[in-house]
Protein backbone atom coordinates (compact mmCIF):
# COMPACT_ATOMS: atom_id res chain seq x y z
CA UNK A 1 0.00 0.00 0.00
CA UNK A 2 1.17 3.49 -0.82
CA UNK A 3 2.44 5.66 2.02
CA UNK A 4 0.71 8.61 0.40
CA UNK A 5 -2.47 8.07 -1.56
CA UNK A 6 -3.97 11.15 -3.18
CA UNK A 7 -7.03 10.76 -5.39
CA UNK A 8 -8.92 13.51 -7.21
CA UNK A 9 -7.88 16.11 -4.71
CA UNK A 10 -9.33 19.56 -5.31
CA UNK A 11 -8.34 22.64 -3.33
CA UNK A 12 -10.32 25.81 -3.88
CA UNK A 13 -9.67 29.15 -2.23
CA UNK A 14 -12.47 31.65 -1.91
CA UNK A 15 -10.80 34.96 -2.67
CA UNK A 16 -13.99 36.93 -2.23
CA UNK A 17 -14.64 37.99 -5.81
CA UNK A 18 -13.69 34.66 -7.37
CA UNK A 19 -12.88 31.07 -6.55
CA UNK A 20 -9.27 30.09 -7.15
CA UNK A 21 -8.70 26.46 -8.06
CA UNK A 22 -5.22 25.78 -6.73
CA UNK A 23 -5.57 22.04 -7.25
CA UNK A 24 -8.15 20.74 -9.63
CA UNK A 25 -8.13 16.97 -9.43
CA UNK A 26 -4.71 15.62 -8.48
CA UNK A 27 -4.07 11.90 -8.17
CA UNK A 28 -0.70 10.63 -6.91
CA UNK A 29 0.66 7.63 -5.02
CA UNK A 30 3.98 7.84 -3.25
CA UNK A 31 5.60 4.76 -1.77
CA UNK A 32 7.83 4.58 1.29
CA UNK A 33 11.50 5.35 0.58
CA UNK A 34 10.74 7.21 -2.64
CA UNK A 35 12.57 10.44 -3.47
CA UNK A 36 10.11 12.60 -5.37
CA UNK A 37 10.50 16.08 -6.72
CA UNK A 38 7.38 18.16 -7.33
CA UNK A 39 8.00 20.78 -9.98
CA UNK A 40 6.03 23.44 -11.72
CA UNK A 41 5.97 27.14 -12.46
CA UNK A 42 4.58 29.49 -9.85
CA UNK A 43 0.81 29.26 -9.66
CA UNK A 44 0.89 25.62 -10.73
CA UNK A 45 -0.32 24.48 -7.31
CA UNK A 46 2.87 22.87 -6.09
CA UNK A 47 2.92 24.76 -2.81
CA UNK A 48 -0.72 23.94 -2.18
CA UNK A 49 -0.01 20.29 -2.88
CA UNK A 50 2.88 20.39 -0.44
CA UNK A 51 0.69 21.96 2.23
CA UNK A 52 -1.91 19.27 1.70
CA UNK A 53 0.69 16.49 1.84
CA UNK A 54 2.20 18.12 4.93
CA UNK A 55 -1.20 18.18 6.67
CA UNK A 56 -0.99 21.95 7.05
CA UNK A 57 -4.09 22.19 4.93
CA UNK A 58 -6.94 19.82 4.07
CA UNK A 59 -8.39 19.23 0.58
CA UNK A 60 -11.68 20.85 -0.42
CA UNK A 61 -12.68 17.54 -1.99
CA UNK A 62 -11.05 14.27 -2.92
CA UNK A 63 -9.27 11.70 -0.82
CA UNK A 64 -5.92 12.01 0.96
CA UNK A 65 -4.72 8.99 2.85
CA UNK A 66 -1.49 9.18 4.79
CA UNK A 67 -0.26 5.78 5.96
CA UNK A 68 -3.77 4.43 5.50
CA UNK A 69 -5.41 7.20 7.50
CA UNK A 70 -7.94 9.54 5.87
CA UNK A 71 -6.55 12.99 6.61
CA UNK A 72 -9.84 14.66 5.66
CA UNK A 73 -11.46 13.14 8.75
CA UNK A 74 -8.92 14.55 11.21
CA UNK A 75 -9.42 17.54 13.45
CA UNK A 76 -6.86 20.26 14.21
CA UNK A 77 -5.23 18.42 17.07
CA UNK A 78 -4.92 15.18 15.15
CA UNK A 79 -3.38 17.06 12.22
CA UNK A 80 -0.92 18.65 14.62
CA UNK A 81 -0.03 15.21 15.92
CA UNK A 82 0.56 13.85 12.40
CA UNK A 83 2.78 16.81 11.57
CA UNK A 84 4.62 16.21 14.81
CA UNK A 85 5.20 12.45 14.44
CA UNK A 86 5.05 11.65 10.73
CA UNK A 87 6.30 14.69 8.85
CA UNK A 88 9.54 16.62 8.92
CA UNK A 89 9.50 20.04 7.27
CA UNK A 90 12.44 21.81 5.67
CA UNK A 91 11.65 25.33 4.47
CA UNK A 92 13.30 27.65 2.01
CA UNK A 93 13.73 30.30 4.72
CA UNK A 94 14.84 27.74 7.34
CA UNK A 95 12.24 28.98 9.84
CA UNK A 96 14.33 28.48 12.94
CA UNK A 97 13.42 30.19 16.21
CA UNK A 98 15.86 33.12 16.13
CA UNK A 99 16.42 33.42 19.87
CA UNK A 100 16.90 29.73 20.54
CA UNK A 101 20.04 27.65 20.18
CA UNK A 102 20.41 25.06 17.44
CA UNK A 103 19.88 22.40 20.07
CA UNK A 104 16.63 23.92 21.30
CA UNK A 105 15.37 24.37 17.76
CA UNK A 106 15.95 20.68 17.09
CA UNK A 107 14.32 19.73 20.39
CA UNK A 108 11.14 21.60 19.51
CA UNK A 109 9.21 18.74 17.84
CA UNK A 110 10.19 16.46 20.74
CA UNK A 111 8.83 19.00 23.25
CA UNK A 112 5.45 18.86 21.58
CA UNK A 113 5.72 15.07 21.39
CA UNK A 114 6.09 15.01 25.18
CA UNK A 115 9.54 13.38 25.16
CA UNK A 116 11.22 13.74 28.57
CA UNK A 117 13.97 16.33 28.65
CA UNK A 118 17.07 14.16 29.00
CA UNK A 119 16.00 11.88 26.16
CA UNK A 120 15.07 14.92 24.10
CA UNK A 121 18.50 16.36 24.52
CA UNK A 122 20.21 13.13 23.57
CA UNK A 123 18.16 12.72 20.43
CA UNK A 124 18.59 16.36 19.39
CA UNK A 125 22.34 16.12 19.92
CA UNK A 126 22.47 12.98 17.81
CA UNK A 127 20.42 14.56 15.01
CA UNK A 128 22.71 17.60 14.96
CA UNK A 129 25.80 15.40 14.95
CA UNK A 130 24.33 13.40 12.05
CA UNK A 131 24.04 16.55 9.92
CA UNK A 132 27.57 17.56 10.82
CA UNK A 133 26.83 20.25 13.42
CA UNK A 134 28.03 18.44 16.54
CA UNK A 135 30.24 21.42 17.35
CA UNK A 136 27.60 24.12 16.80
CA UNK A 137 24.82 22.93 19.05
CA UNK A 138 24.72 25.92 21.36
CA UNK A 139 24.93 28.50 18.59
CA UNK A 140 21.94 30.64 17.75
CA UNK A 141 20.76 30.86 14.12
CA UNK A 142 22.36 34.27 13.58
CA UNK A 143 25.70 32.75 14.56
CA UNK A 144 25.43 30.13 11.81
CA UNK A 145 25.90 30.28 8.04
CA UNK A 146 22.97 29.68 5.69
CA UNK A 147 24.05 26.14 4.99
CA UNK A 148 24.44 25.45 8.70
CA UNK A 149 20.99 26.88 9.39
CA UNK A 150 19.47 24.62 6.80
CA UNK A 151 21.29 21.68 8.38
CA UNK A 152 19.74 22.61 11.72
CA UNK A 153 16.36 22.62 9.98
CA UNK A 154 17.09 19.21 8.50
CA UNK A 155 18.08 17.91 11.92
CA UNK A 156 14.82 19.28 13.29
CA UNK A 157 12.92 17.52 10.49
CA UNK A 158 14.65 14.23 11.25
CA UNK A 159 14.68 14.22 15.02
CA UNK A 160 11.27 12.64 15.57
CA UNK A 161 11.89 9.88 12.98
CA UNK A 162 9.19 11.02 10.56
CA UNK A 163 7.66 8.95 7.75
CA UNK A 164 8.39 11.64 5.20
CA UNK A 165 10.63 14.66 4.89
CA UNK A 166 8.97 17.49 3.05
CA UNK A 167 11.37 20.09 1.67
CA UNK A 168 10.05 23.28 0.12
CA UNK A 169 12.73 24.92 -2.08
CA UNK A 170 15.39 23.88 0.45
CA UNK A 171 18.22 25.44 -1.59
CA UNK A 172 16.34 28.57 -2.61
CA UNK A 173 18.13 30.81 -0.12
CA UNK A 174 21.56 29.20 -0.45
CA UNK A 175 24.44 29.80 -2.81
CA UNK A 176 24.93 27.02 -5.34
CA UNK A 177 27.87 25.42 -3.54
CA UNK A 178 25.99 25.23 -0.24
CA UNK A 179 22.90 24.11 -2.13
CA UNK A 180 24.83 21.18 -3.50
CA UNK A 181 25.94 20.24 0.00
CA UNK A 182 22.34 20.19 1.20
CA UNK A 183 21.29 18.09 -1.80
CA UNK A 184 24.10 15.65 -0.96
CA UNK A 185 22.72 15.47 2.56
CA UNK A 186 19.28 14.63 1.13
CA UNK A 187 20.76 11.92 -1.08
CA UNK A 188 22.38 10.41 2.00
CA UNK A 189 19.09 10.56 3.91
CA UNK A 190 17.37 8.83 1.02
CA UNK A 191 20.08 6.19 0.93
CA UNK A 192 19.45 5.61 4.64
CA UNK A 193 15.83 4.73 3.85
CA UNK A 194 13.99 8.01 4.35
CA UNK A 195 11.11 9.12 2.15
CA UNK A 196 11.76 12.55 0.64
CA UNK A 197 9.45 14.92 -1.15
CA UNK A 198 11.09 17.96 -2.63
CA UNK A 199 9.26 20.97 -3.99
CA UNK A 200 11.34 23.06 -6.37
CA UNK A 201 11.25 25.00 -9.57
CA UNK A 202 14.90 24.34 -10.38
CA UNK A 203 15.50 21.59 -12.89
CA UNK A 204 18.99 20.91 -11.57
CA UNK A 205 17.78 20.41 -8.01
CA UNK A 206 14.94 18.17 -9.17
CA UNK A 207 17.46 16.00 -11.00
CA UNK A 208 18.59 14.70 -7.61
CA UNK A 209 15.25 13.00 -7.08
CA UNK A 210 14.37 9.64 -8.46
CA UNK A 211 10.96 10.67 -9.70
CA UNK A 212 9.71 14.01 -10.93
CA UNK A 213 6.07 15.13 -10.80
CA UNK A 214 5.30 18.18 -12.88
CA UNK A 215 2.25 20.25 -12.06
CA UNK A 216 0.55 22.67 -14.37
CA UNK A 217 -2.62 24.64 -13.62
CA UNK A 218 -3.43 22.51 -10.64
CA UNK A 219 -3.11 19.23 -12.44
CA UNK A 220 -0.37 16.61 -12.79
CA UNK A 221 1.12 17.26 -16.23
CA UNK A 222 3.74 14.51 -16.11
CA UNK A 223 5.08 11.86 -13.74
CA UNK A 224 8.40 10.39 -14.77
CA UNK A 225 11.18 8.33 -13.30
CA UNK A 226 14.63 9.89 -13.47
CA UNK A 227 16.94 7.48 -15.24
CA UNK A 228 20.20 8.67 -13.68
CA UNK A 229 19.60 10.84 -10.65
CA UNK A 230 22.41 13.15 -9.62
CA UNK A 231 24.12 11.65 -6.63
CA UNK A 232 26.69 12.45 -4.09
CA UNK A 233 29.34 10.64 -6.15
CA UNK A 234 28.53 12.20 -9.49
CA UNK A 235 28.85 15.69 -8.05
CA UNK A 236 32.42 15.13 -7.01
Amino acid sequence: MALIHIKDVVKTYDMGAELVHALSGVTIDIQANEYVAIMGPSGSGKSTLMNVIGCLDTPTSGLYEFGGENVGDLDDNQLAEIRNRKIGFVFQTFNLLPRSTALHNVELPLIYAGVPSHERRERAEKALTDVGLGDRMLHKPNELSGGQRQRVAVARALVNNPSIILADEPTGNLDSRTGVEIMQLFSELHAQGNTLILVTHEEEIAEHAHRILRLFDGKVASDEVVANPLTYASQM
Partner: protein
Amino acid sequence: MSRIESISTTLQTLRGNRLRSFLTLLSIAIGVFSIIAVMTALGALQNSIEGGLSALGTNTFQVQKYPHNQGGGPGWHARLRNRPDITYAQGLAVVERTQGARYIGLEAWTFGYEVTWRNVRTNPDIAIAGETPDGLPTNQWEIDLGRSLSQSDLDLTRRVVILGADLVRLLFPPSYNPIGETVSLAGTRYKIIGTLKPEGAMFGSRDRHFVIPITTFFEKFGKNRSIHIMVQAESRENFQAVQDQVIGVLRAVRKDRPGEENSFAMFSNESLIREFNEMTATVRLGTMAIAAVALLAAGIGIMNIMLVSVTERTREIGVRKAVGATRRSVIAQFLSEAVVISVLGGLIGILLGLLAGNILAVALEIDPVIELTWIATGIAACCLVGIIFGTYPAWKAANLDPIDALRYE
Protein backbone atom coordinates in the same frame (compact mmCIF):
# COMPACT_ATOMS: atom_id res chain seq x y z
CA MET B 1 3.84 20.62 26.20
CA SER B 2 4.20 20.41 29.93
CA ARG B 3 3.65 23.37 32.25
CA ILE B 4 7.32 23.56 33.24
CA GLU B 5 8.20 23.51 29.55
CA SER B 6 5.93 26.39 28.75
CA ILE B 7 7.18 28.42 31.70
CA SER B 8 10.80 27.89 30.67
CA THR B 9 9.87 28.91 27.11
CA THR B 10 8.17 31.95 28.60
CA LEU B 11 11.17 33.02 30.63
CA GLN B 12 13.35 32.62 27.57
CA THR B 13 11.05 34.86 25.56
CA LEU B 14 10.88 37.46 28.33
CA ARG B 15 14.67 37.50 28.58
CA GLY B 16 14.82 38.03 24.84
CA ASN B 17 12.73 41.18 25.22
CA ARG B 18 14.11 42.58 28.42
CA LEU B 19 13.14 46.22 28.13
CA ARG B 20 9.66 45.57 26.89
CA SER B 21 9.02 42.89 29.49
CA PHE B 22 10.33 45.19 32.18
CA LEU B 23 8.13 48.11 31.17
CA THR B 24 5.04 45.94 31.00
CA LEU B 25 5.90 44.42 34.31
CA LEU B 26 6.37 47.89 35.76
CA SER B 27 2.83 48.90 34.91
CA ILE B 28 1.50 45.97 36.92
CA ALA B 29 4.00 46.63 39.68
CA ILE B 30 2.74 50.18 40.12
CA GLY B 31 -0.85 49.05 40.45
CA VAL B 32 0.01 46.43 43.04
CA PHE B 33 2.44 48.75 44.76
CA SER B 34 -0.26 51.32 45.44
CA ILE B 35 -2.58 48.77 47.00
CA ILE B 36 0.08 47.10 49.13
CA ALA B 37 1.71 50.34 50.27
CA VAL B 38 -1.57 51.86 51.46
CA MET B 39 -2.80 48.64 53.04
CA THR B 40 0.50 48.10 54.80
CA ALA B 41 0.56 51.65 56.12
CA LEU B 42 -3.03 51.39 57.27
CA GLY B 43 -2.37 48.01 58.81
CA ALA B 44 0.60 49.37 60.73
CA LEU B 45 -1.43 52.37 61.83
CA GLN B 46 -4.27 50.16 62.96
CA ASN B 47 -1.99 47.86 64.92
CA SER B 48 -0.40 50.84 66.56
CA ILE B 49 -3.71 52.40 67.42
CA GLU B 50 -4.98 49.15 68.85
CA GLY B 51 -1.77 48.76 70.82
CA GLY B 52 -1.47 52.42 71.73
CA LEU B 53 -5.05 52.66 72.82
CA SER B 54 -4.36 50.47 75.75
CA ALA B 55 -3.66 53.94 77.16
CA LEU B 56 -7.29 53.49 78.00
CA GLY B 57 -7.22 50.10 79.68
CA THR B 58 -9.47 47.19 79.00
CA ASN B 59 -13.11 47.62 79.98
CA THR B 60 -12.47 51.32 80.33
CA PHE B 61 -14.43 54.17 78.84
CA GLN B 62 -14.00 57.89 79.02
CA VAL B 63 -16.57 60.68 79.24
CA GLN B 64 -15.80 64.14 77.98
CA LYS B 65 -17.63 67.17 76.72
CA TYR B 66 -16.97 66.83 73.01
CA PRO B 67 -16.78 63.72 70.87
CA HIS B 68 -13.32 62.36 70.23
CA ASN B 69 -13.91 62.40 66.52
CA GLN B 70 -14.81 65.97 65.74
CA GLY B 71 -16.09 65.30 62.27
CA GLY B 72 -19.75 65.28 63.21
CA GLY B 73 -21.07 66.48 59.86
CA PRO B 74 -22.44 69.90 58.97
CA GLY B 75 -23.68 72.01 61.85
CA TRP B 76 -21.71 69.94 64.30
CA HIS B 77 -20.09 72.86 66.00
CA ALA B 78 -23.30 74.85 66.25
CA ARG B 79 -25.04 71.93 67.94
CA LEU B 80 -22.34 71.30 70.51
CA ARG B 81 -21.14 74.81 71.13
CA ASN B 82 -23.51 75.48 73.97
CA ARG B 83 -22.79 72.32 75.87
CA PRO B 84 -22.07 73.03 79.50
CA ASP B 85 -18.72 71.90 80.88
CA ILE B 86 -18.50 68.65 82.78
CA THR B 87 -17.74 69.98 86.24
CA TYR B 88 -15.74 68.43 89.04
CA ALA B 89 -18.96 68.23 91.09
CA GLN B 90 -20.66 66.22 88.35
CA GLY B 91 -17.60 63.96 88.27
CA LEU B 92 -17.81 63.43 92.01
CA ALA B 93 -21.50 62.59 91.64
CA VAL B 94 -20.57 59.87 89.17
CA VAL B 95 -17.94 58.56 91.57
CA GLU B 96 -20.46 58.41 94.41
CA ARG B 97 -23.42 56.95 92.60
CA THR B 98 -21.90 54.39 90.20
CA GLN B 99 -21.70 50.76 91.27
CA GLY B 100 -19.66 47.98 89.73
CA ALA B 101 -16.76 50.17 88.63
CA ARG B 102 -13.24 49.22 89.68
CA TYR B 103 -11.86 52.74 89.24
CA ILE B 104 -13.44 56.06 88.41
CA GLY B 105 -10.77 58.63 87.68
CA LEU B 106 -11.37 62.34 87.19
CA GLU B 107 -8.87 64.48 85.38
CA ALA B 108 -8.27 67.88 83.89
CA TRP B 109 -5.53 68.85 81.45
CA THR B 110 -3.60 71.85 80.41
CA PHE B 111 -0.65 72.02 78.05
CA GLY B 112 2.45 73.95 77.19
CA TYR B 113 4.34 74.62 80.42
CA GLU B 114 7.99 74.48 81.24
CA VAL B 115 9.42 72.74 84.28
CA THR B 116 12.66 73.68 86.00
CA TRP B 117 14.86 71.89 88.48
CA ARG B 118 17.84 73.89 89.73
CA ASN B 119 19.21 75.32 86.49
CA VAL B 120 17.69 72.67 84.19
CA ARG B 121 14.73 73.88 82.16
CA THR B 122 12.51 71.91 79.77
CA ASN B 123 10.89 73.15 76.60
CA PRO B 124 7.48 74.70 77.20
CA ASP B 125 5.72 71.58 75.95
CA ILE B 126 4.88 69.82 79.19
CA ALA B 127 1.35 68.53 79.76
CA ILE B 128 -0.15 69.06 83.21
CA ALA B 129 -2.65 66.48 84.37
CA GLY B 130 -4.75 67.08 87.46
CA GLU B 131 -5.82 63.63 88.61
CA THR B 132 -7.72 61.84 91.33
CA PRO B 133 -5.97 58.74 92.71
CA ASP B 134 -8.12 56.51 90.42
CA GLY B 135 -7.00 58.54 87.43
CA LEU B 136 -3.63 56.80 87.35
CA PRO B 137 -4.86 53.23 86.87
CA THR B 138 -7.55 54.29 84.38
CA ASN B 139 -4.85 56.03 82.37
CA GLN B 140 -2.73 52.86 82.60
CA TRP B 141 -0.04 54.80 84.39
CA GLU B 142 2.13 52.72 86.64
CA ILE B 143 4.28 54.08 89.43
CA ASP B 144 7.98 53.43 88.94
CA LEU B 145 9.56 55.09 91.98
CA GLY B 146 7.87 56.63 95.02
CA ARG B 147 4.16 56.58 95.54
CA SER B 148 0.91 57.47 93.80
CA LEU B 149 -1.51 60.25 94.65
CA SER B 150 -3.54 59.82 97.83
CA GLN B 151 -6.90 61.16 98.89
CA SER B 152 -5.17 63.39 101.45
CA ASP B 153 -3.05 64.95 98.68
CA LEU B 154 -6.36 66.02 97.17
CA ASP B 155 -8.02 67.00 100.42
CA LEU B 156 -5.07 69.17 101.42
CA THR B 157 -4.38 70.43 97.85
CA ARG B 158 -0.76 69.42 98.37
CA ARG B 159 1.81 70.72 95.93
CA VAL B 160 3.11 67.30 94.98
CA VAL B 161 3.85 65.86 91.58
CA ILE B 162 4.39 62.53 89.82
CA LEU B 163 6.66 62.87 86.80
CA GLY B 164 6.43 61.03 83.47
CA ALA B 165 9.48 58.97 82.51
CA ASP B 166 10.65 61.37 79.79
CA LEU B 167 10.38 64.31 82.10
CA VAL B 168 12.59 62.54 84.63
CA ARG B 169 15.10 61.85 81.89
CA LEU B 170 15.03 65.47 80.74
CA LEU B 171 15.50 67.02 84.15
CA PHE B 172 17.77 64.68 86.09
CA PRO B 173 21.10 63.02 85.48
CA PRO B 174 20.94 59.30 84.65
CA SER B 175 20.04 57.01 87.56
CA TYR B 176 19.46 59.99 89.84
CA ASN B 177 16.63 59.37 92.28
CA PRO B 178 14.37 62.44 91.98
CA ILE B 179 11.99 61.49 94.81
CA GLY B 180 11.87 64.28 97.35
CA GLU B 181 13.35 66.87 94.97
CA THR B 182 11.46 70.04 94.26
CA VAL B 183 10.64 71.29 90.76
CA SER B 184 9.06 74.57 89.69
CA LEU B 185 6.25 75.07 87.25
CA ALA B 186 4.51 78.37 86.54
CA GLY B 187 5.90 79.96 89.69
CA THR B 188 4.85 77.17 92.03
CA ARG B 189 7.19 74.64 93.61
CA TYR B 190 6.11 71.00 93.68
CA LYS B 191 7.62 68.16 95.64
CA ILE B 192 8.23 64.99 93.64
CA ILE B 193 6.49 62.02 95.26
CA GLY B 194 6.71 59.52 92.41
CA THR B 195 7.65 58.76 88.81
CA LEU B 196 5.80 56.87 86.06
CA LYS B 197 7.05 53.88 84.10
CA PRO B 198 7.71 54.58 80.42
CA GLU B 199 4.60 54.08 78.30
CA GLY B 200 6.08 53.83 74.86
CA ALA B 201 5.28 56.16 72.10
CA MET B 202 2.68 56.65 69.45
CA PHE B 203 3.05 59.75 67.33
CA GLY B 204 5.72 61.01 69.66
CA SER B 205 6.15 60.66 73.35
CA ARG B 206 3.34 60.69 75.88
CA ASP B 207 5.69 60.40 78.77
CA ARG B 208 6.13 64.10 79.49
CA HIS B 209 3.28 64.25 81.98
CA PHE B 210 3.36 66.39 85.07
CA VAL B 211 0.74 64.73 87.27
CA ILE B 212 -0.61 66.68 90.26
CA PRO B 213 -3.69 66.34 92.49
CA ILE B 214 -6.77 67.59 90.68
CA THR B 215 -7.61 69.97 93.54
CA THR B 216 -4.16 71.56 93.31
CA PHE B 217 -4.68 71.78 89.54
CA PHE B 218 -7.92 73.72 90.02
CA GLU B 219 -6.27 76.03 92.53
CA LYS B 220 -3.41 76.86 90.16
CA PHE B 221 -5.02 76.72 86.74
CA GLY B 222 -8.62 77.55 87.49
CA LYS B 223 -11.73 75.49 88.02
CA ASN B 224 -13.59 76.86 85.04
CA ARG B 225 -12.98 73.95 82.70
CA SER B 226 -14.44 70.65 81.60
CA ILE B 227 -13.02 67.48 83.11
CA HIS B 228 -12.71 63.94 81.82
CA ILE B 229 -14.29 61.04 83.66
CA MET B 230 -12.57 57.71 83.14
CA VAL B 231 -14.37 54.58 84.29
CA GLN B 232 -13.01 51.07 84.42
CA ALA B 233 -15.67 48.41 84.85
CA GLU B 234 -14.95 45.41 87.05
CA SER B 235 -15.31 43.07 84.12
CA ARG B 236 -16.29 42.86 80.49
CA GLU B 237 -19.67 41.52 81.62
CA ASN B 238 -20.71 44.60 83.57
CA PHE B 239 -19.04 47.10 81.21
CA GLN B 240 -22.33 47.93 79.53
CA ALA B 241 -24.21 48.14 82.83
CA VAL B 242 -21.63 50.50 84.30
CA GLN B 243 -21.71 52.63 81.19
CA ASP B 244 -25.50 52.83 81.40
CA GLN B 245 -25.32 53.88 85.06
CA VAL B 246 -22.82 56.61 84.30
CA ILE B 247 -25.00 57.88 81.49
CA GLY B 248 -27.97 57.91 83.86
CA VAL B 249 -26.12 59.77 86.60
CA LEU B 250 -24.68 62.33 84.23
CA ARG B 251 -27.96 62.97 82.44
CA ALA B 252 -29.58 63.52 85.80
CA VAL B 253 -26.96 65.89 87.22
CA ARG B 254 -26.62 67.76 83.91
CA LYS B 255 -30.41 67.96 83.58
CA ASP B 256 -30.51 66.53 80.05
CA ARG B 257 -34.17 66.46 79.07
CA PRO B 258 -35.70 63.08 78.17
CA GLY B 259 -35.60 62.45 74.43
CA GLU B 260 -32.63 64.74 73.94
CA GLU B 261 -29.26 63.28 73.16
CA ASN B 262 -26.56 63.14 75.84
CA SER B 263 -24.89 66.47 76.46
CA PHE B 264 -21.54 64.64 76.70
CA ALA B 265 -19.53 62.17 74.67
CA MET B 266 -18.25 58.72 75.58
CA PHE B 267 -15.69 56.50 73.97
CA SER B 268 -13.77 53.36 74.73
CA ASN B 269 -10.91 51.57 73.04
CA GLU B 270 -13.45 49.52 71.14
CA SER B 271 -15.32 52.56 69.92
CA LEU B 272 -12.09 54.29 68.94
CA ILE B 273 -11.01 51.25 66.95
CA ARG B 274 -14.40 51.11 65.34
CA GLU B 275 -14.18 54.78 64.44
CA PHE B 276 -10.71 54.30 63.03
CA ASN B 277 -11.86 51.38 60.98
CA GLU B 278 -14.81 53.32 59.64
CA MET B 279 -12.49 56.11 58.65
CA THR B 280 -9.92 53.82 57.05
CA ALA B 281 -12.59 51.74 55.33
CA THR B 282 -13.17 54.69 53.04
CA VAL B 283 -9.45 54.99 52.40
CA ARG B 284 -9.18 51.25 51.78
CA LEU B 285 -12.12 51.30 49.43
CA GLY B 286 -10.71 54.27 47.56
CA THR B 287 -7.32 52.59 47.30
CA MET B 288 -8.90 49.44 45.99
CA ALA B 289 -10.82 51.40 43.39
CA ILE B 290 -7.66 53.19 42.29
CA ALA B 291 -5.69 49.95 42.29
CA ALA B 292 -8.42 48.28 40.26
CA VAL B 293 -8.21 51.06 37.69
CA ALA B 294 -4.40 50.85 37.70
CA LEU B 295 -4.54 47.08 37.22
CA LEU B 296 -7.09 47.50 34.46
CA ALA B 297 -4.76 49.92 32.69
CA ALA B 298 -1.84 47.57 33.27
CA GLY B 299 -3.93 44.69 31.94
CA ILE B 300 -4.70 46.61 28.78
CA GLY B 301 -0.97 47.30 28.51
CA ILE B 302 -0.29 43.60 28.80
CA MET B 303 -2.88 42.80 26.18
CA ASN B 304 -1.38 45.38 23.87
CA ILE B 305 2.14 44.09 24.28
CA MET B 306 0.98 40.48 23.89
CA LEU B 307 -0.81 41.36 20.65
CA VAL B 308 2.37 43.00 19.39
CA SER B 309 4.28 39.94 20.46
CA VAL B 310 1.86 37.60 18.66
CA THR B 311 2.20 39.62 15.46
CA GLU B 312 5.97 39.77 15.76
CA ARG B 313 6.22 36.08 16.37
CA THR B 314 3.75 34.99 13.72
CA ARG B 315 6.44 32.98 11.97
CA GLU B 316 7.52 31.39 15.23
CA ILE B 317 3.93 30.36 15.84
CA GLY B 318 3.79 28.96 12.30
CA VAL B 319 6.95 26.95 12.90
CA ARG B 320 5.67 25.65 16.21
CA LYS B 321 2.41 24.60 14.60
CA ALA B 322 4.23 22.97 11.68
CA VAL B 323 6.32 20.85 14.03
CA GLY B 324 3.30 19.78 16.01
CA ALA B 325 2.13 22.46 18.45
CA THR B 326 -1.59 22.10 19.12
CA ARG B 327 -3.89 25.07 19.73
CA ARG B 328 -3.83 24.20 23.38
CA SER B 329 -0.07 24.36 23.66
CA VAL B 330 0.06 27.69 21.81
CA ILE B 331 -2.61 29.10 24.13
CA ALA B 332 -0.72 27.74 27.13
CA GLN B 333 2.48 29.37 25.93
CA PHE B 334 1.06 32.85 25.44
CA LEU B 335 -1.18 32.72 28.47
CA SER B 336 1.68 31.71 30.70
CA GLU B 337 3.69 34.56 29.25
CA ALA B 338 0.98 37.05 30.22
CA VAL B 339 0.56 35.52 33.66
CA VAL B 340 4.31 35.37 34.34
CA ILE B 341 4.70 39.04 33.37
CA SER B 342 1.84 40.15 35.57
CA VAL B 343 2.77 37.97 38.55
CA LEU B 344 6.42 39.03 38.38
CA GLY B 345 5.22 42.63 38.20
CA GLY B 346 2.93 41.91 41.09
CA LEU B 347 5.74 40.49 43.21
CA ILE B 348 7.88 43.53 42.54
CA GLY B 349 4.94 45.76 43.42
CA ILE B 350 4.36 43.83 46.62
CA LEU B 351 7.99 44.11 47.68
CA LEU B 352 8.12 47.83 46.97
CA GLY B 353 4.73 48.33 48.56
CA LEU B 354 5.74 46.54 51.75
CA LEU B 355 8.90 48.58 51.80
CA ALA B 356 7.16 51.92 51.27
CA GLY B 357 4.30 51.17 53.65
CA ASN B 358 6.70 50.09 56.36
CA ILE B 359 9.07 52.98 55.80
CA LEU B 360 6.06 55.18 56.44
CA ALA B 361 5.28 53.12 59.52
CA VAL B 362 8.82 53.53 60.81
CA ALA B 363 8.72 57.24 60.05
CA LEU B 364 5.57 57.51 62.18
CA GLU B 365 7.32 55.47 64.87
CA ILE B 366 4.92 52.56 64.65
CA ASP B 367 5.70 48.89 64.26
CA PRO B 368 5.99 47.60 60.68
CA VAL B 369 3.58 44.88 59.54
CA ILE B 370 3.23 42.41 56.69
CA GLU B 371 -0.35 42.21 55.49
CA LEU B 372 -0.53 38.62 54.26
CA THR B 373 -4.13 38.88 53.15
CA TRP B 374 -3.36 41.79 50.89
CA ILE B 375 -0.26 40.09 49.53
CA ALA B 376 -2.34 37.06 48.62
CA THR B 377 -5.01 39.31 47.17
CA GLY B 378 -2.38 41.15 45.15
CA ILE B 379 -0.94 37.96 43.68
CA ALA B 380 -4.38 36.59 42.91
CA ALA B 381 -5.36 39.87 41.24
CA CYS B 382 -2.21 39.71 39.09
CA CYS B 383 -2.90 36.13 38.02
CA LEU B 384 -6.40 37.17 37.12
CA VAL B 385 -5.23 40.20 35.16
CA GLY B 386 -2.74 38.02 33.27
CA ILE B 387 -5.37 35.45 32.44
CA ILE B 388 -8.08 37.94 31.50
CA PHE B 389 -5.89 40.11 29.31
CA GLY B 390 -3.72 37.30 27.98
CA THR B 391 -6.62 35.20 26.74
CA TYR B 392 -7.44 37.14 23.60
CA PRO B 393 -3.84 37.39 22.33
CA ALA B 394 -3.29 33.72 23.13
CA TRP B 395 -6.48 32.77 21.36
CA LYS B 396 -5.43 34.87 18.38
CA ALA B 397 -2.06 33.12 18.27
CA ALA B 398 -3.61 29.68 18.53
CA ASN B 399 -5.97 30.37 15.64
CA LEU B 400 -3.32 31.56 13.20
CA ASP B 401 -3.33 29.51 10.05
CA PRO B 402 0.05 27.74 9.96
CA ILE B 403 0.49 28.27 6.24
CA ASP B 404 -0.09 32.03 6.44
CA ALA B 405 1.98 32.21 9.60
CA LEU B 406 4.94 30.49 7.95
CA ARG B 407 4.80 32.86 5.01
CA TYR B 408 4.43 35.97 7.16
CA GLU B 409 7.16 38.54 6.63
